[in-house]
Symmetry: C2
Subunit: 287 residues, 2 copies
């Protein structure tokens, strides 16, 4: 199988390393705007060959994988359509799915498109942080459009399994609603914490000394690539704003219990959070 990856950063690079290591692809081509990135991707074993030209890079590919920020994917779809082979499967790794699936469905030239989203990443970005194990063990959403090509879904399901990830076929709407709570809201609250600390630090030179592992972990996502995250926020607007609304309601509720000194209700909410987190994450309770 010949695979072309457009955008060989953290995710595209890790995907390339994984398919090459698993022996899924005979040849992996990389397309990127930056020749230095392409060279590093080749050196790091993410691709066999790099292309600056989109048409050249996707020529004769069985699967083309879009691994750029979400709005780059949206911009690239109409440019890609005329140069894509008739049998070529188009796949993407974008973090929000409804916008991309809708855009792909609206383009006459794209007949074999399936959306994808591996639930893996770090706050870092770029080919230097790519890792052939990043996707291993991760849930990998496969989002077929309404007019689904079963052959394409089957092929990608198999490919995802072979790189050690867990395929989950899911609708775009359901995917976007879930990740608004498990991924995008955590990012926004992480940003809120970092902004609150940054604001206090301007008048308080001791603040840095009073940050420990709890602060580092809860603000880690705020260190994510801004372009990638802005695209996510702006293409998953409605589910994310509903999640923010729910967060605001919960925060107000917690603040009210603290203000009123309502210990019973406060303890009930904190316990529900602790138990809920354990059951959602499937972790054992430790105390």
């Amino acid at each position: 199988m010949r695979i072309s990856i457009i955008g060989v950063g953290l995710l595209g690079g890790s995907f390339g390393m994984a398919v090459r290591k698993a022996g899924v692809a005979d040849r992996v081509a990389g397309v990127d705007l930056d020749p230095v990135t392409l060279e590093r991707a080749r050196e790091r074993g993410a691709i066999d060959e790099g292309f600056l030209d989109l048409a050249e890079g996707v020529a004769a590919a069985d699967v083309v994988v879009l691994a750029t920020p979400v709005r780059s994917i949206l911009e690239m779809l109409p440019v890609l359509t005329p140069v894509l082979g008739r049998e070529t499967i188009l796949f993407d790794l974008g973090s929000t799915k409804e916008a991309i699936v809708c855009a792909a469905a609206g383009l006459a030239g794209i007949t074999r498109y399936v959306g994808g989203h591996p639930m893996a990443g770090t706050e870092h970005s770029g080919i230097e942080h790519a890792d052939d194990g990043l996707l291993r063990g991760a849930t990998f959403a496969l989002v077929p459009p309404p007019e689904v090509d079963d052959g394409a879904v089957d092929l990608l399901t198999d490919l995802v399994r072979r790189i050690g990830a867990h395929p989950v076929v899911i609708s775009a709407e359901r995917h976007d609603r879930i990740v608004s709570v498990t991924s995008h809201l955590p990012y926004l609250l992480s940003v809120v914490l970092a902004l609150a600390a940054e604001s206090m630090a301007r008048g308080e030179d001791r603040l840095g000394a009073f940050t420990a592992s709890g602060f580092r972990d809860t603000t880690r996502l705020a260190a994510s690539n801004v372009r990638v995250m802005a695209d996510i926020c702006l293409t998953n607007r409605r589910p994310l704003l509903r999640a923010v609304e729910e967060a605001r309601r919960l925060l107000d509720d917690l603040a009210a219990q603290i203000e009123q000194g309502n210990e019973t209700e406060l303890v009930r909410m904190l316990t529900r959070a602790k138990d809920g987190r354990a059951s959602v994450s499937g972790e054992r309770r430790t105390d």
Copy 2:
């Protein structure tokens, strides 16, 4: 030096291990309500001897360290006063300081009290998770009351240094204001995320599969000991409610930019968070 530690859980146990390992104490006594905990603390090298009786446990101690949840410390102060030696230094490891420093200042029998707070911990609790390295490298707040005993502060500064932590002498008010933003607000937002996910998971069986490292890290603090955290929230009410107010304002601001599709302002805020987090945590920017 003879040290008595009241409450040999995660923090008291780790403190005992650290002072014994550093050779700071000739003898470490542990006082706890639970004989099994005392036995495990002895086995794990946190204490030399365990006591169920408070008066026996603190007899002849040079330093008594209160290492229980904040409101237990507040309840214990008047009970401890009559049994404390005249020269004994009273120290505590409670996470909020103003309530404890005020309470200690109001008790005639306590003449050599200094508050303490090591910026270290995990979401786990109990002697099984104690670790002689937990406090190493951590900022260790020393909070002298208005009527300060310089000898006591000097002795504790030296002790803190000898176990590898960094003493920072700071007022109770300033300490509580800083940690409301660097520690207590992160906990509350972590609770909010866990509650939002728990609530969605009730009607969405796929949610668990869509949690990755970002969700785990941002909700880790929600797994903290509920009793410890409720005490913190209820004894640091005013600074914490101010921090919540600021968080709400920032979240509303982010939501407004997303709702209006104001990319420029959204990117500005996300960038300020990313850079602010890096400068507050003293971490290098990676991309």
